[in-house]
């Protein structure tokens, strides 16, 4: 149970700057996910919190205590590694109890603690085995047990699920979430899997090339991405980016897209509601970001009561049924757009159908800086 604050933390290897000033603050019991592609510096940051890497500049505080120079064992943290890093020469019980052994606890104390954790993780029957005799999922549990046994202030997870097969990964993900709900310990979790990030996090920090792109709760990251990188990284299929021009038609503000900017998509805001932005951007190039699920088949009943739904007529190129929805590639006035429609919507490849775009869920980006407008 602890707060964690990372203030302007930097990491340099020689002339290469891997982390370029990271600022993150976590309240007690939060679940932070560091999300990003490989090489973005997320694991380096985690190792710095753990104390396995030195901090080039800035400071890391756990519960207000600056831990920059504190040895990993004295930081009161526990870590679960991607490779599990179980000691192959020791039994499961000794693996779990090793940190207590190193801290000079008696055999009896250790046994009690190991039993408690083993019960929590349902691995009591494995305690006498060696890691080599365990399956991937069981090793994963033992690795978590080793972290849990000390009741640390902060848990650090370094891509703990990426070595598991798809089904087990989903199960363990749920279990990690349950554990967090039950124990309420602060967690820092590194992954490159956006689904893991969305499902587990109380807040996500999306990183790219050593810079935090956005630090916000999952839903906000999804709905209001700070820039096009974040928008493209989160969500599957990815967000549609449509080039257009911000324009006004009558008293409605909108985006003209497609050939000759011939298709006007009205935004829910009127020019009066957003005068500053509108004045600056009117007539300028913008990028319209639309999630696939914001593009659906036209439904007259829904459209009637909602002025934010823009009706468009598009040719259907390809249908990809996934069961729950059908991913549909359509031509929005000359630009390809992905829509997520219901399987019950009867559209056919090659034909033209009516779609509606929920402009209330649209995002506008600056084409030069790629930042959200």
């Amino acid at each position: 149970m602890a707060t964690l604050s990372i203030n302007n933390v930097r990491k340099q290897y020689g002339a290469v700057e891997v982390l370029k000033g990271i600022d993150l603050t976590l309240a007690d019991g939060e679940f932070l996910v560091l999300l990003g592609p490989s090489g973005c510096g997320k694991s380096t940051l985690l190792n710095m919190i753990a104390g396995l890497e030195t901090i080039s500049a800035g400071e890391i505080r756990i519960d207000q205590r600056v831990v920059n120079g504190v040895h990993p064992k004295d930081r009161d943290i526990a870590m679960v590694f991607q490779s599990y890093a179980l000691y192959p020469n020791m039994t499961v019980a000794r693996n779990i109890g090793f940190s207590l052994e190193m801290r000079g606890q008696s055999k009896a104390e250790r046994d009690t603690a190991v039993r408690r954790v083993a019960k929590l993780l349902q691995i009591e029957h494995l305690l006498d085995r060696k890691p080599a005799q365990l399956s991937g999922g069981q090793r994963q549990r033992v690795a978590m047990g080793r972290a849990l046994v000390r009741d640390p202030k902060i848990f650090l997870f370094d891509e703990p699920l990426s070595n598991l097969d798809a089904k087990l990964r989903v199960d363990m993900r749920t279990e990690i979430k349950k554990l967090h709900q039950r124990l309420g310990t602060t967690v820092v979790y590194v992954t490159h899997d956006q689904i893991e990030a969305m499902t587990l996090a109380s807040r996500i920090a999306i990183m790219k090339e050593g810079v935090v792109q956005q630090f916000a709760p999952p839903q906000e990251v999804y709905e209001r991405p700070a820039n096009m990188y974040v928008a493209g990284f989160i969500g599957s299929p990815t967000m549609n980016f449509v080039r257009g021009t911000l324009s006004a038609e009558g008293d409605r503000l909108g985006v003209s897209v497609g050939r000759d900017r011939g298709l006007f998509l009205p935004l829910p805001e009127t020019p009066d509601q957003a005068p500053d932005q509108a004045g600056h951007w009117l007539g300028q190039e913008v990028i319209l970001g639309i999630r696939p699920e914001a593009v659906t088949c036209h439904d007259p009943a829904a459209a009637a009561g909602n002025p934010a739904l823009a009706r468009v007529s598009c040719r259907v190129d390809v249908l990809e049924p996934t069961g729950a929805d059908t991913i549909t590639y359509i031509q929005l006035n000359g630009q390809e757009v992905v829509a997520r429609i219901k399987p019950s919507d009867r559209v056919t490849e090659g034909a033209t159908a009516d779609f509606m775009i929920d402009m209330a869920r649209a995002n506008l980006f600056d084409p030069k800086t790629e930042q959200r407008i």
Binding site: A50, K73, I77, F81, Y87, F98, M102
Partner: protein, 296 residues
């Protein structure tokens, strides 16, 4: 081993069978080629001088006589000293045991530090240690003699142990470094977070994982040091000489008729320990050499 051969497709047809038998024939010839000298030595060592003079070289002894062995062990004259090979055999044990233990232990520690606690210049340090394993032993004779003189260890068993430990470090470090490179760094990180220090990680995690390479290193060092002649002849004074030097002196001490049976028995005594080590641990030696190449 049978599981290994079963992985090959079974031989089919007459041609394949002939080829297989041809292979066995060649293998048998090679085995005979290597085993004949040993057989000759053993046979001769059990013969009486009479039989050696009259019989043929390759014939087996008519009756087993242990006289030559016991004579070589405790009565043969090494130079002017006629106490046999026994005291020199014990010298060798006194040299080999601490040399093997220390050089293996320090090699393991070196390998561990070079792979898991990488410091600035670790690669250069390793390259320099590696260079040591290419140094011909003759090259270090003079500087080492000077060093031992300065340290006051000249002509002592302790001095010879030091020479073997220092010279062996290049090899043992190489063995352990290459083995420890394949052990994941995460283990050390996890142990660090768990609160284990440099030596605790070494003794509780790295060493227990090192059995295959330990066996390889011990066999290698044992064989090298037991069979060493040059350092023993150069740095050990009369009574402290190892068994190899004693064997040479025994064979070269000619008074009267050459006692081939005693020479052969003495040679067998000098060579037996390495033979025994190979027979007992050879299986692990092969396993250790290939460890890491195939993940089991």
């Amino acid at each position: 081993m049978s599981s290994l051969t079963s992985a090959l497709p079974p031989a089919q047809g007459t041609g394949a069978r002939l080829a297989r038998w041809g292979l066995y024939l060649i293998l048998a010839l090679f085995a005979a080629y290597y085993l004949l000298p040993l057989l000759l030595m053993i046979a001769t060592s059990f013969k009486s001088p009479e039989e050696i003079r009259t019989g043929s070289l390759l014939s087996l002894p008519r009756e087993l006589s242990l006289d030559a062995w016991s004579y070589a062990w405790n009565r043969a004259c090494i130079g002017a000293d006629c106490r046999g090979m026994a005291p020199y055999f014990l010298n060798s044990v006194a040299i080999v045991v601490p040399s093997v233990v220390l050089s293996t232990l320090f090699g393991a520690l070196n390998g561990y530090a070079l792979t898991k606690w990488r410091f600035r210049g670790a690669n250069i340090v390793f390259a320099m240690i590696l260079f040591g394993s290419f140094l011909p032993s003759q090259v270090i004779l003079l500087p080492m003699a000077r060093t031992l003189g300065v340290l006051g260890l000249a002509g002592s068993t302790g001095g010879l142990v030091l020479v073997h430990v220092v010279y062996g470090l290049a090899f043992t470090t190489l063995f352990f470094r290459n083995y420890y490179v394949s052990i994941p760094d995460d283990l050390v990180k996890a142990a660090t977070i768990d609160g284990a220090g440099f030596f605790q990680i070494f003794t509780k995690i790295m060493l227990p994982l090192s059995l295959p390479i330990l066996v390889v290193t011990i066999i290698w060092q044992f064989t090298q040091i037991w069979n060493d002649f040059l350092f023993g002849a150069s740095f050990a004074a009369g009574g402290a000489q190892p068994v190899t030097v004693a064997l040479n002196n025994l064979v070269n001490t000619t008074t009267g008729v050459k006692q081939y049976n005693v020479d052969m028995a003495a040679a067998m005594i000098a060579g037996l320990p390495t033979l025994v080590v190979y027979v007992l641990a050879g299986k692990y030696f092969i396993r250790g050499l290939t460890a890491g190449s195939v993940k089991g």
